[in-house]
């Protein structure tokens, strides 16, 4: 079966640019729903205690939050079809409060489902080849990938076939469903790393081997949370046919030897740190050598079967430059700003990648209403082969838009409040849900993001400031990735008050670094002030086109600390 099989093409609204379930996948996801329905029934009947139920509801994406259950739906490698997006909108209307929240792990969260409805929601998801499998729990989580996969101009290979291959292998893995802690894998296939592979338990980069054949550079032991670590190279080149076997070896070593005495020391990053990279590598290689490879003998064929689905859509042959785009930009400054900021280079002439910001001024980062989801679905069908992506920056990507169509698309988005021109700029803030929703949080995140967003709402000023990532977490678990924000904000609780620590110099890309603490925590109402002072100092010191992170690296952290110390003398309590 290939991606352009007539049987597949007959499905409504389904592009042939992403993986489509066969009968086995369909049966598996259906069986999973039936299993969960039975698990809920047994829980309600008392056959299972809450403690016994917990890992199984988590492995189906269901959390018990502060006020209600939360269901986290998997969007494997961030790829969605228009039909799937519409189904998410329908679920939001029918079983939730008419909106959903896109997360930093390319998932979608519904914040208000009822336990008894969850099996029906999962059934509705299965209808459109979706699920909530392993979006939580101490298992291999939903595998993430570059949101520009398949279209990025700097790409070596589309990482999504690898991610889909891993999705299948990791689903209901009998041996690795009760790990010491959660396990996250990210895949990238481009020169620039948009998947943050160095801050995952395992990061994979598709690279060319000695004979030019594709394989993987394998990182292990990266992660954020309360002890941030940058991942280390455990294997410089792993041939593709060895991928599953090698990952199984890593997981087996981790499952056997990872710490289980303290949940904060249970991630593989701690095992790597405490055991040492060389020793871990030796153990993984020994396990890999001892394995029975028979079950993996045909992995290369299976990979090829999966890869065939990720075919390019039927692009038109177009000139590289679009006259229509140029004249629309001249006539409409707001559109020109959008085209400047939210549009990225596509590998095919005449096409562009459009990132739709879910960060309007004063909005909740990553939230989309059901109406907006439907507009996005419509827009993708009208202008982009019916395909959408979710980025880990909590935005939505339309990966294949003709440059000639950009203005019409912008008008459609603008009418739905989806044309904020701030992608990659200061108000494109990553934020976790914080204390407004999450039972782990120690402080609110969303109101901080909203305050910063309002303070810097002037888009011209943002463009003047340039690329600057602000990332906010409401507790040390770091779901908002504050460690790798050029400016990171961490909300803590001190003597019953919310207190925010600010870090500078974090970087999630291949030049990965963890941010450094600026000083003692500040109050919720001071965060925007402090950030403004830092930004003003950067603007006064930067040379030419220098990015914030580069100015910070050049000047050194102490200079930035000085600014705040001076401000502190002027009355700000920092």
């Amino acid at each position: 079966m290939t991606a352009h099989d007539p049987q597949q093409a007959a499905r409504p609204n389904t592009p042939t640019t992403t993986y489509l379930y066969d009968n086995y996948d369909t049966a598996f996801v259906r069986e999973r729903v039936a299993e969960f329905r039975e698990q809920v029934r047994r829980r309600l009947e008392g056959a299972t205690t809450e403690e016994e139920f917990r890992p199984f509801r988590l492995m189906n994406g269901l959390y018990l939050q502060l006020h209600a259950y939360m269901l986290r739906v998997a969007i494997p490698y961030g790829t969605l079809t228009a039909r799937q997006m519409r189904s998410l909108a329908d679920i939001a209307d029918k079983w939730d409060k008419g909106y959903g929240h896109f997360t930093t792990r390319q998932n979608l969260q519904f914040n208000w489902p009822k336990l008894v409805d969850v099996p029906d929601i999962l059934e509705a998801l299965a209808e459109v080849e979706m699920h909530a499998i392993q979006t939580s729990g101490n298992c291999i989580r939903n595998v993430t990938a570059d949101h520009f996969s398949g279209v990025a101009a700097d790409e070596y290979e589309d990482p999504r076939p690898t991610a889909e291959f891993l999705r299948q292998w990791s689903s209901l893995h009998s041996e690795f469903s009760f790990l010491p802690r959660k396990f996250k894998i990210a895949v990238s296939g481009a020169a620039q790393d948009r998947a943050a592979v160095k801050v995952h338990d395992i990061g994979l980069r598709v690279v060319a081997g000695p004979g030019g054949e594709p394989g993987y550079e394998v990182y292990v032991g990266g992660g954020l949370g309360r002890s941030p670590f940058v991942g280390k190279v455990v294997r410089e080149f792993l041939p593709r046919e060895d991928l599953l076997a090698y990952l199984e070896a890593i997981l087996r070593v981790y499952n056997r030897f990872g710490r289980r005495d303290n949940k904060y020391k249970a991630r593989i990053k701690i095992l790597v740190h405490e055991t040492g990279l060389d020793q871990i590598r030796a153990e993984v290689e020994a396990e890999f050598a001892a394995m029975d490879r028979t079950p993996f003998a045909h992995d290369a064929e299976e990979f090829a079967r999966i890869a065939a689905f990720f075919a390019p859509p039927p692009y038109e042959t177009l000139p590289a430059q679009s006259e229509a785009l140029q004249s629309a930009k001249r006539e409409n400054p707001a559109f020109a700003a959008f085209a400047e900021v939210n549009v990225s280079a596509h590998k095919i002439d005449g096409y562009a990648i459009v990132t739709v910001s879910l960060k309007p001024t004063g909005g909740i980062p990553g939230d989309a209403t059901s109406a907006q989801m439907r507009v996005l679905a419509d827009a993708s069908e009208k202008f982009g082969f019916g395909e959408l992506r979710v980025s880990h920056e909590q935005n939505i990507v339309l990966p294949h838009v003709k440059k000639d169509d950009l203005f019409a698309l912008w008008r459609m988005l603008d009418a739905a409040g989806l044309a904020t021109a701030n992608v990659g700029l200061l108000t494109d803030i990553i934020s976790c849900p914080g204390l407004d929703y999450c039972s782990l949080a120690t402080a609110r995140s969303i109101p901080i993001a909203q305050a910063i967003s309002r303070r810097f709402k002037d888009e011209e000023r943002q463009r003047e400031i340039g690329r600057l990532g602000i990332k906010i977490s409401g507790c040390i678990n770091a779901c908002g990735h504050h460690h790798v924000g050029a400016i990171g904000v961490l909300g803590l609780e001190k003597k019953g008050q919310e207190s925010y620590q600010i870090t500078l110099g974090g970087d999630p890309s291949l030049s990965a670094s963890v941010g450094e603490l600026l000083g003692p925590g500040v109050g919720a109402d001071q965060v925007a002030d402090v950030i403004e002072h830092i930004v003003d100092f950067y603007l006064s010191e930067r040379q030419g086109e220098e990015r914030f992170i580069d100015t910070w690296r050049r000047l050194g952290h102490a200079r930035f600390k000085d600014v705040l110390r001076r401000e502190g003398e002027n009355g700000a309590d920092i």
Binding site: D22, Y24, D25, A27, F28, E31, A34, E35, E38, Q39, R42, G46, A47, T48, T49, E52, P55, F56, N138, Q168, W169, S171, L172, H173, S174, E175, F176, S177, F178, L179, R252, N255, R256, R260, A290, M291, D292, T294, P295, H298, D299, E301, E302, R305
Partner: protein
């Protein structure tokens, strides 16, 4: 303790021998790893011998005894502690052909995990057996026609079946 095999509650012919108990003259017994040598020397030729292992056991240390062991019981100190699943795989890989038993507070939802990792039987405390009856264990075991991975007691992985269908 209650014993489950293939989704059915079955009679347990084995007796767990505590470390302070004398070796009995008859019957099948399971001893701790520390008493393995003593049991091998002291048991009658008709008596079956089994060993119980902590989930941190080294499979290489136990492999030399495989031919004289009819049962290995791997402890699950908590149902969320998955080390026993990896150890079971390693014990099977090292060539153990006898009965492999998961022993601890496992729940019905793990029936399939246990079988795929090579366990034949599951030994659970009575309080769990009372809440989770035979029908629940049987249903959980039959939840999936096929899974993506190759495992013990499966009909072949989804990947394998796809490949054969394409040939």
């Amino acid at each position: 303790m209650a014993l489950i095999s293939e989704g059915k509650f079955v009679e347990d012919e084995w007796r767990h021998l505590a470390d302070e108990e004398d070796l009995p003259r008859s019957g099948k017994i399971v001893v701790s790893q520390q008493r393995l040598e003593e049991a091998l020397a002291g048991l009658g030729p008709e008596q079956g011998l089994g060993v119980r292992l902590p989930n941190t056991a080294d499979p290489a240390a136990i492999a030399p005894y495989f031919s004289r062991l009819s049962l290995i019981a791997i402890a699950f100190p908590a149902f969320t502690d998955g080390r026993g699943f990896s150890l079971a795989r390693l014990v099977r890989r090292a060539g153990f052909k006898g009965e492999l038993r998961a022993s601890g507070r496992l729940v019905a939802d793990q029936a399939l995990h246990a079988r795929q990792c090579g366990f034949d039987t599951i030994e659970i405390p009575h309080d769990i057996a009372q809440r989770q009856n035979e029908a629940q264990w049987a249903k959980a075991l039959g939840s999936y026609a096929e899974t993506y991975q190759e495992g013990y007691g499966t009909r072949g992985s989804i990947l394998e079946r796809r490949r054969k269908a394409a040939l």
